[in-house]
Every structure is written in C-alpha cells, then in structure tokens.
Amino acid sequence: MTTRSPILSLRRIQKSYGPIKVLHGVDLDIYPGEVVALLGENGAGKSTLSNIISGTVQPSAGEMTWLGRTYAPADPRAAMDEGVGMIHQELKLLPKLSIAENVFVGRYPMKAGRIDRKAMEDRARSGLHRLGLDISPDRLVEGLSTGKQQLIEIAKALTLNARLLILDEPTAALGGEESQLLFQQIEWLKSEGVGIIYISHRLEEIRQIADRIVVMRDGAKVQEFESGDVPIRTIVEAMVGRSLERMFPALPVPTDQVTLEVRNLSSPSNAFRDISFSVRRGEVFGIAGLMGAGRTELVRAISGADPISGGEVLLHGRSVTPRSPIDAIRNGIVLVPEDRKLQGVVLDHSIAENIAYANLREISRGGWVSSRRIQLFAEDCIKKFGVKGRGGQNAGELSGGNQQKVVLAKWLARKPQVVVLDEPTRGIDVGARSSIYDLIIDLAREGVTVIVVSSDLEEVLGVSSRILVMAQGRQAGILNREDANDVSVMELATI
C-alpha cells in the first residue's frame, strides 16, 4: 500500500506450551499511523500474539524486527523501553494512587535521590492534554469512569513515547459515548504516526476505525483485508472458517417433556437480563456467545452459585429458583464449573475425597464416615464413569480430561436431573475431548437434561439440539439445530 517501511515486522512467529502449539508461524507487519484490527474467535491466538509483541510471553521460534533492528523483549519493561505499549482488557491501574503516580509507577522521575513530584505531575498533565483530557493529575484514580481510566492507560503509554500501541478489547467496558471519545483519540494518535493493533469482538466498530484487518484462526493468520470496510458476514466467515471435522456422537431425540424452564431470569450485576428458555428431558441445550456475554453468570445462577435478582427457575413446572448451590443440588440441578482447577476439584486432595465431598451425606451412616467407605464409594464411581486413576491419587496429578471426569463423577453418583456444563473441554487436549462428548450424549440418552456452555463454536454446534445465543447479557436468539451454523451464531453474538 505504501513504500514506507514497517515499524514492526513479525516473521514465522511460533509458540508452543509443551506439546500444544498455539501459534503456527505468524507473519505480520505494522506500519506507522495505521490501525490494524486483529480478529479471531476466543483461542485463535490473538492474545498470545500480542503478549509476544509486548514482551509478556517469549516466542518459541521466529523473529521480530522493530524499526529495522532485531527485537526480542525479555519482559514487558523491555518492550516499553523500546516504545511498545500494551493496554490490557482488564485495567491495571492502582485505584488508591493519583493519576500521575499511576502514569509513572515503577519509573518515577528522580531528582537528588527523591521522587520529583513536580516533574511527574507536569509530564502527566501534558500526557493528559495530548489526549484532550482535562483532569488534574494529582487526583486519585478511584472513582474515575472506566473510559477515563482507559485513556489514562493510553496516556501512560504515551509518556513512554510509544510508537506502537496494542489495545486489547478497549471498548469492552465502555459505553457508546466513551467509545466515540476513544476513537477520536485513536484518530489523533494515527496522525502522530503511532501504529495501533486493535483487538475487539465488536465487529461493527472495526469498520469505523480499522485501516487493515488481520483474521486469525487456530493459531495462524488466515486472511488479511487491505481495508476496514469489509462486510461483517465476510469477516465472520473468515473467523470461523472451516477447520478439521471433529467426532461428535449422534444426538439422541429429546422427549416432549419439558424438565427445566427459565423465566425472565436477571442478575443483580446486570451480567444477564430477561433470559427465558425451556429444556426438555434428554435434550442437550447449548449456550453460545462471546466472552463477557453473560453465559457463565447465567448458568451459575441457574445452579445456585450466583445470585438472581428477578425471574424464576422451574423444574417440572414447580418453582425451584435456587438461593444457594445446596438448593439447586437438592433439586437435582448440578454444575460442572468453568474453572476446573479453582472451582471443580481440590487439587491437593485425593480423587476419592473429591468425589466424596459432594456425596458425604450419602456415604455417611448417621453422620459417621470412614476412609474405607469413602474409598469404596469412589472406586465405584471411578469404574462407572471411566476416570483413569486410583482413588488415593491426588486430583492435581490427573490430566485435564480426567479431572473433568472426576467433577462429573461426583455429580453423576447423585443421579441428577439437570447437568450444567460450563466450558466442559477448556484446556483439555483434543483427543480427550471426544470422551467428554460421549459422556454428555450418554447423559442425554439416559434422560438427563443437559446444558452446555462453550466458547468453542464447533463444540456447541456439535453436541446441542438447540442453541441459545447471548450478546452483552441479552438473549439474542435461540437457534434450532437445522438453522444453527458458525455464521448464524456469530451474527447473533456480535449484534
């Protein structure tokens, strides 16, 4: 497009975690004064790539060139010193410190061995001015709107004379007006010759600000558009693409009998609102949406783990709106949580103990339990549900797939009516996934009502007979299996 030379060039960048390859040789050039939108589904490798550029993660292979020189930052500090600033999705400001202190944290201007507060505030003020922000730099960060905080992060990067800024989902927490303010600043930064990598799930805003679009999928760059003005549908098709077919077992035919009904359910934190659906006996019901769409909060509320502010949950027509996990479990609604290691199992306790924790009442006689009885109960579950391991083994020693089976086993022993699985195969290698799918389908076949939340579109499409798509806490629509495909789901999810 121009004869200018790029400020940053990536060549054949690879990254592996153990045997798992997350980046397969990515090439990327960033020119001064342009906004490159980096797009892709969750797990496509966008974050890993930007972490490599900002020095948080080191590549396994490949090389980077920065302003004509070889570039291999050892840590974020080194990248910052070179002029690469990254603004993370979660803000990393210290609320109890002033704006100026936040801007200069860790590299305070010094004078005679002491912090030169005046120089610090002056330089912070000029940084804020450049962004058109009229706030005093000695004010505390606490209480500032998210949008303002976002701009302070950018001011922080600017005082470092950043030549390249990486913005990871900068508008995720912003309202419309704040977003527009941010876009103005981005335009201004462009005119100053700053290169910008812009990561976002909001496709409509990409058309507004991107000069170029790079789409990633499964750790590789799959397509590049030389303009930001590309139909959303085209982008989505590139994002979901066509990858290897995975093995999903045939779905059972659900009965006509409705087991679970959710009516106008809302959360107090507004993470989701006014959600209504019903699921039949023997049906696998999928829930899809982008990160932050409220899927996890919704299913956690249904299983009593998170609070509910309005609406109700009905089981066989009877209201069972849970106030705690205990309530839900008593009614036969169980949750396989999103974060296995923090919510699913106690890592340094044995498999047997982990299984027992959900079944202590059943195992004990008149309140008495013995290790032997726990062991016997667990061995039984381990055999029945195909966990590979011994009862005495620590859960932390197991593979992700087997840990997930432990979580399932502890619930299945209770013969639940509704099983809710949140990201059932996250962090589990592809080979072990199919055995989880088999378990899910088997459950449905036995007449259990199953809800599956997943960021992996292919997975939701593969196991669900209907799919609820959520977008920013709202119910964007429910698709039947016949109408559900990558594109229709993504279109609903990015509204």
């Binding site: 205990i326 949580p337 919510q343 106690v346 340094d348 306790h349 202590l360 004990s364 726990i374």
Partner: protein
C-alpha cells in the same frame, strides 16, 4: 503383581499411623525423647511423664479448637483472651455471686462460645477477614475479662475444684488430664469419622469447590469458631483448677502457643491438610521440650529461642518434604 502388592503396602503404611502428614513431627518427638532420656537421668520416669501431661493440659485443649480453625484456612487470635474471660465469668459467678459450680462452669463456657459465635458471624456474614475479626474479639474479651473485677484476681473456689488438677485417679491421671485426653479423642473421632469433620478438609482445600459441591460453608465456619472458643473456655476451666484462682491477665499470647503447636504438628496455615493427630504430637513436642529444657536447667529466655527454632525447623522440613 508385585507393583500391586507394593501399592497395597504403600497405602497400608500410609494409613497405619494415619496422621495426615504428621509422621515427620512424630519422628521429631521420638528423637527428642531419646535425646532427653540419655541427656538427663530424670526424664524417663512415669512421674515425669505425668508431669508433662499436667503441664500441657491447657495448651492441649486449646490447640484442638485451633486445629479446626486452621484446617478451614482460618485463624483465631482471640483464644487466649476468651480463656481469661471464661475464667473470670466462672470466678465471678461462683465466688462473688455464689452460683454453684455445676451451673457456673456451663455459663462460663457459654460466655466463651458466644465470642466464637460473634467472630464466626463477622467472618461469614460481614466478610471481615478472620485475622481482623478475631483480633477485635481478642481485645474485646480481654477488656470484658478485666472489667468484671476491675483487673483483680478472684480466689476462694471450693476445695474439690483444685483437687481435680492434683489428685491422680488410680495413681495415674488427674481429672484435668482426663479432660484433655477426652477432648483429644473426641476431636480425632470427629475429624476423621464425622460428616462435619470431613467437610472441614473440603472447605480448607478450596472453599469455592466446597460451596459448589453443596457444602454449607458458612454454617460450618461459624460452628468451627464457636467450638474453638468453647474449647478455649474449657482450657480456662482447666487452668482455673490448676491455679485455684482466676485472674484477667491469664492466657496472654496463649493463642500463639496454640498456633505453634498446630503448625509444628504439620497442619498447613493455608488449610485443607493436617489434623488433630499432628496437633497432639505438636503439643507433646512443646511440652516435652519445655520439660526437658527445665531438667537441663536451660534459662526460660533461651527456651523461647529454642521453641522458635523448632517451629522454623518443623515447617521448613515439611515444606522441603512436600517439594520433593
């Protein structure tokens, strides 16, 4: 085949002492006893052993409650003050108000338990960190204990009360030692074989996992602090019997001794591992060490240094073993 046999033996050996990681402290205790047997001529005798038991009663009873608290990942800094409060309530009711012991003791224990109830509710309902909630209760209960007599001690319990700590039934244990042994046994049984005891491991291991598994974490937490305070009160009854008097300055820094005994016994401060078995050994180590150092005429100041060193040794050995 052979592997299977070994595996079986492995579990058998692991379950034989069934101390949940307290094998290290047990070895330490044995080494300590052997050393003192050869270093002094008075250590190895029934009389001295019974002395040691008498000396550890207060710490022993208190440390059982502290074990439960630490097992769920909590801490209770108030036990020393709660003990003093229970003692003062006992003295006031019995000596000043003339309430018979049969009623004064349960009331004193109830007063102690109330402290635990408040701490437990602060922690679960108002999300006050355990450290802060019990730090506050430590100050409050100490203050109340002092207010009862304006800082004065109370004497004049019935004669039989002191005899509980002196008369050795069947020439063997005093009633106070019997109380401690009963607490040990009940604690062990509860922790290992009761539904409610098992739950504590789940909560300490990961409270969120426990909650999602349908365990009533809040109720169990409150209960643990109530039991801990109750046992602190009970240790106060034991101390009152031993001293035949009560004073509001009793039990200062006892909470730290109790924590030390629990930690030496192999219970992790982060919760989820350890147990009463280890704590009993921890209490014995502290008791035997103090007794032995006295027999060796080591100064009390030096004793503090040595006990500090033992805490470091016990915990580093445990961490080192785990890392391996």
């Amino acid at each position: 085949m052979r592997a299977a046999v070994q595996e079986k033996q492995g579990t058998a050996v692991r379950q034989l002492p069934s101390l949940r990681g307290a094998t290290g402290p047990l070895i330490g205790l044995i080494v300590l006893c052997l050393f003192l047997t050869f270093a002094t001529d008075k250590f190895l005798s029934l009389r001295n052993f019974l002395n040691v038991l008498d000396q550890i009663t207060v710490l022993g009873v208190m440390a059982v409650g502290m074990t439960f608290v630490i097992l769920i990942g909590g801490i209770d800094l108030a036990v020393g003050s709660v003990m003093a409060l229970a003692m003062m309530v006992l003295g006031y009711l019995n000596v000043v108000a003339g309430v018979p012991m049969g009623l004064a003791i349960p009331l004193a224990l109830a007063a102690a338990s109330l402290n635990g109830l408040i701490a437990g509710l602060l922690i679960t309902r108002f999300n006050v960190p355990a450290f802060i909630a019990t730090l506050a209760m430590m100050s409050i209960s100490r203050g109340v204990a002092n207010m009862i007599t304006d800082g004065q001690q109370i004497i004049g319990f019935p004669a039989w009360f002191n005899m509980m700590a002196i008369v050795r039934f069947g020439g063997f244990v005093t009633l106070t030692v019997a109380v401690m042994i009963a607490v040990f046994i009940l604690g062990l049984l509860y922790q290992r074989y009761r539904h409610g005891g098992r739950v504590l491991y789940a909560i300490g291991g990961n409270a969120e996992v426990a909650r999602l598994a349908g365990i009533n974490v809040q109720r169990a937490t409150v209960l643990v602090y109530v039991v801990c305070s109750f046992l602190a009160g009970l240790s106060g009854m034991v101390l009152a019997a031993r001293l035949d008097s009560v004073q509001p300055s009793s039990g200062v820094s006892y909470e730290l001794d109790a924590i030390a005994a629990v930690v030496i016994g192999g219970t992790s401060l982060s919760g989820g591992t350890g147990g009463i078995g280890g704590t009993i050994i921890g209490v014995l180590i502290i008791g035997v060490l103090r007794n032995g150092l006295n027999l060796l005429s080591v100064s009390p100041f030096m004793q503090q240094v040595i006990i500090g060193a033992v805490i470091v040794l016990a915990v580093t050995a445990e961490t080192y073993r785990k890392r391996k």
